[in-house]
Each structure stands twice: as C-alpha cells, then as structure tokens.
Amino acid sequence: MNRYNDVRRQRSIHFWKQVLPYVKYVVSSGFLFFCAIFAFLFFYYYSDLVNHYPADFPLALVATAVLFPFICFNSIRTFFVQADIIFLVPAESKLKEYIQTSIRKAFYAKIPYIFVLWFFIWPLYRMSLDINHLAMFLVVFLFLLLLLFFNIFSHWQELQMINRIVVKGFTFLRWVLCIASLYLLFSIQWPLAICISGIAMIAYVFMLHKADKHILFWENLIRVESKQRSRFELFLNAFVDYPRSTSGKSNTFTIKLKKMQNLFPFKKKQTFHYFYFLMFLRNEWFGIVLRLNILAILIGLLMESQEAAMALQVFFVYIIGVQLSSLPYVHRYAPLLNLLPLQQKMRANAAANVAAVVHVLSIVLLSIPILTRFPSYWMVGIACVEVIVSFIYFRHVNTRKWITD
C-alpha cells in the first residue's frame, strides 16, 4: 500500500475511533424511537400508495425530488488538516492514490442509499410503465450509480477550481443537469433519457477540464474537510457533549441583523444571553431551525387529517428541541468565557433561556398553520404542554446536565 494512502487509512480509523463511542448515546437518546415512528408512518402511507396507485401520480417529480439530494450533495472525506500545508503539500504528486481512495469511499458510501431509494421507487415506476423486468431494475439502478459517480467526480473537480464564481456556475449547471436527467428518466423512454443525459455529462466533463484549476486546492480542501467534520460533530452534539474541533462556518448574513441583538439590554447579567444568542445565529442552529420550521409548515399544509398534522407537529417540535439542546455546549471549554468576571452558573442558565425561547417560538410557529386548518382545543392543549415541557427541559434537565457533565 502507498504510504500516503496508509496515512489516509490511519486518519479515517482515528476519526471513527473518536466518533463510535458516542454512537451509543445517539441510540439511547430516543432518537431511534422517533425514527421508528417516522418509518412506521412512511410504510403506512407508502403501502397505501402502492395498493391504490393513482393514474395521475406525479412520479417523475417525486422521484426526482427524492433522489436529487442523495445524488447531488456528496461529501468527499480527505481528512486533510491545517498541518498538511507543511507535511503533505511537498508530497502532492504522490497523493493520487490517497485522493482516489477518498473519491471511491464517497461513492461506496452512497450506494446503499441509492439502492434503498430505488428499491422503493421501483414498484411505482413499474406500475406507471406497466412493465416488470428485473433487467430494467438493474439498468436504471446502474444509470443512477453512473449519475452519482459523475456528481462525485465533478464535485471533486469543482473543489479544485480557482474562481469562486466559476465554481458556483459549474455547481448550478451540474444540479440542473442532474434534475433534468432524473426527470427525463422517469418521464420519457429510458433509453432516450439515458442517451441525452450521457451526452450532457460528457459535455460537462469536457467543460470541467477546460476550467482553471489547482492540482489540489489545499486551502479549500482543508476548509471543506473542517466543515464536514463540523457537521458531524454538530449532529453528535445534539445527543451528547461531543468535543468540537471547529466552530464551522458562520452565517455572515446575520451580522446585518444588528437590531435583533438590541433585544438584549446592555447589562452585565445579560452578557451570556447576548453571547448564546449570537452563537445561535452564527452557527448551524439558525439554519437548521429555520429549515425545519419551513419544512414542517409545508408538510403540515399538505396533511389531510388532524391526527397526522398533530403527529407531524410533535415530531418536528421534538427534532428542533434535540438540535437546540446542544446550544449550551458551544465553546463550553473556551478559556475566554472562563476569564470573564461572571458567575459560570449564569452561562448554563443563559444558554438554556436562549434555547427555550427559540424552541417555544418554533412551537407557536408550527401550531399556527395546523390551528388555522383544524381549529381544536386539542391542538391548543398539545402546544401548551409542549411549551411547558420545553421550559422544564431546558431550564432544569439540560442546565443540570451541563453543570454536572
């Protein structure tokens, strides 16, 4: 084995050794239970759809929407770190195998997802075309894998590009190409769709080769790797106090939301509230909570029954709560916070207050569309219970956990 590939292998092992001990906390957190409920609901609606497949079902649209994120958004783990500027850059020409392994692993990691998705889409596709050939299942599956590999390979090339605007252009074009390929696959005859997509992919790859690129754009690769690691750490932090190595990328646009910061009085006892509110805005929490709220509202508007809408609201309130429960742990061991002339207990309380207020706002926001569609005292009651549980959890359970951890 190439010695640099061995470095990659060691780094990968080290990363997973760090991560795996924490997985049991994710499993025991009740998250799996909610995943199971989610899976149960999915199977319930899915089997209903398969048994009563409507002739006008928008399969092309749904299949494209489901497959697109899994095919287009890929993370290629290089495990590059800042110190590699000193230690690995001189060996750049010998890293071919290292990089190939990173790309290959990214591809292999996605195959099971694509298989499962295609496995569930296949019965619907079969019914829409009125065919039933295993060969057909395999051909389309192979085409999906080809599309996946094309996306991973192109993403890697985009990471090496010099001009950021050009990168955005290429990424946008790739997404459009991917959406079009998927949509065509499920809406026109598959041989024609595959031919058109194949030609488009070849043209895209040709254009990729013409773009200005670094052999390896080290700074960008290190930044992207750090971002990927940060995402992973954020996920684990939602369940357990996982030591974060980076603070990830900040939401710079929130700097413009200066007036929101004036919500806090300029007082000593508000210092940590101010700090944790900024941490909420600038880190991933703001984006996650915003996306989950929007997603829940959109799905809620499509719900036909009151019970399903309520279950959905409770599910999303729980997920948002899980995400926010990691807010107090941000910069937990930052020496700068320890040096401030403030009682450290105030930190836990302030973080809990910020998390609780955001959570309660989400509860209210998620309840409004459901109450508008299905006005009932039940829903008001559930929302009230959620608010109480949220305050008790953040002010007492989470705060105590932070102090005793």
Partner: protein
C-alpha cells in the same frame, strides 16, 4: 512603595500535577502604577505563573491576591480587577470585532455610552475601524492580537496581565500598545508583562521578575539586578543571559 500592593504572589508553588510542581516558591508583588516584566526562557514557568494569577490553576501552596482578594474568596470580584491579553488570541470565530468588545464591556459592567466612546477611540488607535463589523475568523493574526489588546484596554481594569503582546503586531500596533501601557500606568493601573523582547522590556518596565526552571532567580529594578550579578552598567539582556547561563552551570 507605601501603597498597598495590587497583586501579591506569595510563596506560590504550583503546576499541573501535585506530584510534579512546575513553579517553586514564586514571590513578588505589583504596586499601583507599576509595570513589571516577567522574564524567562521557554518553559521557565511564565505562562504557568500567569495561569495561576488568572485563577485558571489552583496553587499547591501559597496564595495570590489581587486588590487584597483571593480567587477562592470571590472569583467574580477577583476577575473584575484584571484584564488579560494572551499570547495566542482567544477569540470566537463567529463574532465580529465589535461583538467581542461588546461582550467584554457587558461582562465588566461598562455603560453603553462608555463602551462606544472607548471603542471608537481604540478602533482609531489600532487602525481597526474598517474591521469593526468583520468576523474574527476573517482577521489576520496581527489583527486578532489587536482585538485582544482592545478588549483588555476597553474595560480599563486595575491590573493588566499581558503575555507576549508583540507577537504578530505591526510596528504601528506595537507603538500604540506601548503608548497605551504608559498612559494606563500614569493613571495608576499596574501591568504585568511577559515578553522575550528584552530591549523593550528594559525600556518600559520598572522592575523585572526572572524565572528559570520554575524558580524565581531575580526580582528587582535594573540597578538591583546589576548589583545581584555584579555587572554594573550592564543591560538587561546581558544580565538575563548571565543569570540563566549561571543557573545552567549549577544544574
């Protein structure tokens, strides 16, 4: 000095492990309006001494008092008396320059008016005005250091603890910092500064505490050190080399 000392480090023995203390019987004081240089080779114990003074480490023996209060008695009050400029900037990548300063101002109970007045002056003095709303992660190393210096000087404490302040600073930044330290000293604040730039330390500090392998091998003004080493008219740099070389021979 007839005044009451602002910082008292009394017979301090400390370190990371009880079994292996890094510092041995360190003993010195700092009076209001004094600037003291904390000197030593790498690994001499300067940073460990500073960590003990900051209250980040617990002494094995001895005690440290700032304004006659120990950290154990009242951590909040103890910390309100000092501001620290670390060797490596301690910043939050997600906060802007102004937000860092506002965080310090709030924690040290400044009024908003005072903060804005001092902030405007400091931004001007350290050429950081255009960076006011930039994230700390986008600042250069020198600018990060300036941010740390500005945070400390914004709150105007009684005691400044400054660890290797000149690293990464441009010449204008160094000059601004030195001028600021002289001004604060005139106003009665005390400064404990650790640095390897002995010529600057000699020029600006009133007294010097020299550490070597965790022991205090000298403490006094330049004349005291000259007498101790028998090197009349010698410069601080020569005295320092003489002392640490001499200690090396005894090892």
């Amino acid at each position: 000095m007839s005044q009451h000392p602002l910082l008292q480090v009394n017979q301090l023995t400390g370190g990371y492990s009880l079994n292996r203390p890094v510092l041995h019987d360190i003993d010195f004081t700092l009076y209001p309006g004094e600037m003291v240089g904390l000197l030593g080779l790498n690994g001499a114990g300067k940073s460990t001494t500073i960590k003990h003074i900051l209250g980040l480490m617990k002494p094995h023996q001895g005690e440290i008092k700032i304004n006659n209060a120990t950290y154990v008695e009242s951590p909040e009050q103890y910390r309100a008396h000092y501001a620290f400029v670390p060797e490596t900037p301690l910043i939050f990548d997600e906060l802007t320059v102004e937000e860092h300063l506002q965080l310090s101002a709030m924690a040290y109970d400044l009024s908003k008016e005072d903060m804005e007045r001092r902030l405007a002056w400091l931004l001007q003095e350290f050429n950081m005005k255009p960076k006011r709303n930039q994230l700390a992660s986008h600042l250069s190393k020198g600018m990060r250091q300036k941010l740390m210096i500005m945070s400390a000087f914004l709150v105007e404490p009684k005691l400044y603890i400054i660890d290797e302040p000149f690293l990464g600073l441009d010449p204008l930044g160094i000059r601004s910092l030195l001028d600021l330290m002289v001004e604060k000293k005139k106003n009665g604040s005390s400064i404990l500064m650790s640095s390897h730039i002995l010529s600057t330390i000699e020029q600006y500090c009133d007294r010097f505490v020299i550490l070597h392998h965790g022991n205090m091998i000298a403490n006094g003004n330049l004349t005291d050190l000259q007498k101790q080493t028998g090197m009349s008219n010698a410069r601080l740099e020569d005295i320092f080399f003489h002392l640490v070389k001499d200690e090396k021979k005894h090892e």
